[in-house]
Symmetry: C2
Subunit: 378 residues, 2 copies
């Protein structure tokens, strides 16, 4: 930006990662484990309170999320779900922080006939995709999860769709990165990226062997990659909590058309989430909160007995085909566009991008190659 | 509490006021204006973020609040409502702060046939009490307040029931007290009161000519007046806000069975309030928030288009007959137990208690004499 930029202090790192959300941190950690010197720049603090991962519910739900149009995402999600237990274990050992990985399974429920028909179609879709799920009568669903309302019409069980606490994961990743020797720079807002380094908003240039863009929904706001196909999709969530001494409300993740409830080990329940195209707006609205509570209360009445700890909104980084952007493009490495699946896809993203940065073949499905939008993004 | 209490610094004040909510501050201000030296003790900061007045909606609604069983409260409320314009004006001049006094009037609306019958009874009650209100057809109500839903069944208009911003009032009272020379002590938690002074939680004794207890729902937690008949009634409220550039949603206060919406000059709308007997609990619950939004959204659909700024809860200081405790009892002056009417009753309370402290006859209706509960409170 300026010919009078300050001279960089210290040697040029092998890798600079832009973005301190769950994906950026995990990529930095994995790259460092490959022996690379890594600097990570985050515009806020670390952990970041603006990253989508700070708000995310933490579902690891490739089966429940499966979409007929996104078979490659399902495959990648299943791959990443398989990596999660070892990733969580390794991260806990590296950081000393419990990341809240829970093998809770997911119940997808229907409230009325329309939704029951939708659930039937979803069950058939999963059979066609090769990830069959168990259809449950309402009585069986309620035996499995007694908090469900008597009025539910039908359900299916995805027993391997689990959950993790994304805030705990990010905290642990920060500690693990620090211990591994990643240089973590907070308050470092990145104005632009280029193949040989980045420029901060204050004009400082940070040269690097490789640049990884992992700035979530804000990736498209960084200059240097005009037309990057990432847009924010707003999600509003509520953090609810059982009173001290009360039993946890839920044993499973419960999902329905338009929302979900994710239990945490500490008695918290995350209720999400709206899907809104409102740019970079993160206000919480009366309508969003009302509809979340209405729908959740109908399916899991005990939700309304919980305390409301916080209402918040985050921005999912969406792409035109809802699949992430993984790999080099214009000599910058992209690790963004994870949309609803950022937490789930973190281990596989970090592993593959780490491999790529080590100059090995990461074996990334061409479905995720940023060049698929070359015409749009050029 | 201790024979080794520190010697008080400075001369003994004529009056010490316990409690820095709207009532305590106004009493202190008025007592100082009478030439008395006044010290006010507040356990939190000033303005107090724990006082009910920090959360209160600020309705000045003696007519809408009128209850057949509480004729004395109606009379006192009408008296205080008449005092509000001059009180607000004087306070603004003394502090330089706009207290948000709005002559907006109040609409009381009914959603269904049951509520319409209730509204009919309320109209007849007000005729019997000598404060007639105007019955409105739904169409007329909607002409007056276009934000009302087409589905409302009936309404009445209380054109003299206005509103004020209690947070602004408290801010202004703090400044006015400071400028007038009231000694404001923050972080001063009062453990006990006695005719000759108070004792703080840290053991410090603050002697005073007279002691005024104005600690709202916490009055019953102060030692020295065993059996004081004040209990907390929890109210949950939401603070909503129109987006920048949007027109204000409401011109009037809108009330219904179980809730109300109070517009502020800055585009905020306060939506309240639950009535809950839960002791000193001030958590916000999913059910409270859900029911407030559901009811408000049904009557004023535009509410759901607003941003949610905050959800909060406060504690009304209730008495067995819902009338305040005003006057001396066991040689301590009480100015508490205002229940739902603390903001409304502030000017008359401050004027009457100020008169009492100046050793003149305050002319307080015996209906508010603390001695009416002598048998219970002894």
């Amino acid at each position: 930006m300026s010919s009078a930029s300050p001279t960089p202090a210290g040697p040029t790192p092998d890798v600079v990662v832009v973005g301190g959300g769950i994906v950026g941190l995990a990529v930095a950690w994995r790259a460092r484990a490959r022996g690379l010197s890594v600097t990570l720049c985050e515009r806020g603090g670390l952990p970041s309170y603006v990253a989508a991962s700070h708000v995310a519910a933490g579902m690891l739900a490739p089966v429940a999320e499966a979409d007929a149009q996104e078979r490659a995402v399902l495959t990648l999600g299943l791959d990443s779900a398989v990596r999660w237990p070892a990733f969580a274990q390794e991260l806990q050992e590296a950081s000393g922080i419990d990341v809240g990985y829970r093998t809770c399974g997911t119940l997808v429920v229907a409230r009325d006939r329309d939704e029951a028909e939708h659930v039937d179609r979803e069950i058939r879709l999963r059979e066609a995709l090769g990830v069959p799920v168990a259809r449950l009568l309402p009585s069986a669903a309620r035996r499995l999860e007694p908090a469900l309302a008597p009025a539910i019409r039908s359900a299916f069980h995805a027993p391997a769709d689990h959950a993790v606490d994304p805030r705990a994961v990010c905290e642990a990743l920060v500690v693990a990165c620090e211990r591994a020797g990643v240089v973590l720079r907070t308050g470092a807002s990145v104005a632009s990226v280029a193949p040989g380094g980045i420029t901060l908003a204050d004009g400082e240039r940070v040269p690097a062997g490789r640049v990884v863009l992992a700035a979530g929904a804000w990736s498209a706001r960084v200059e240097g990659l005009p037309g990057l196909c990432v847009r924010p999709v707003k999600g509003q969530l509520l953090r609810l909590k059982a009173r001290a001494g009360e039993a946890p409300l839920l044993d499973h993740v419960v999902r329905w058309d338009g929302g979900y409830l994710v239990p945490r080990a500490d008695g918290c329940v995350v209720l999400g989430a709206t899907m809104e195209d409102r740019g970079y707006d993160t206000t919480v609205t009366a309508l969003g909160v009302y509809e979340l509570l209405r729908d959740a209360g109908e399916l899991v009445p005990g939700v309304l007995e919980l305390d409301l700890e916080a209402a918040m909104a985050g921005l999912r980084p969406a792409t035109p085909d809802n699949a992430p952007l993984l790999g080099a493009w214009q000599d910058v490495v992209l690790a963004c566009g994870h949309h609803r699946n950022g937490v789930l896809l973190t281990p596989v993203t970090a592993d593959r991008i780490g491999t790529l940065l080590a100059n090995e073949d990461p074996g990334i499905d061409p479905a995720f190659a940023p060049s698929r939008f070359a015409k749009v993004m050029a």
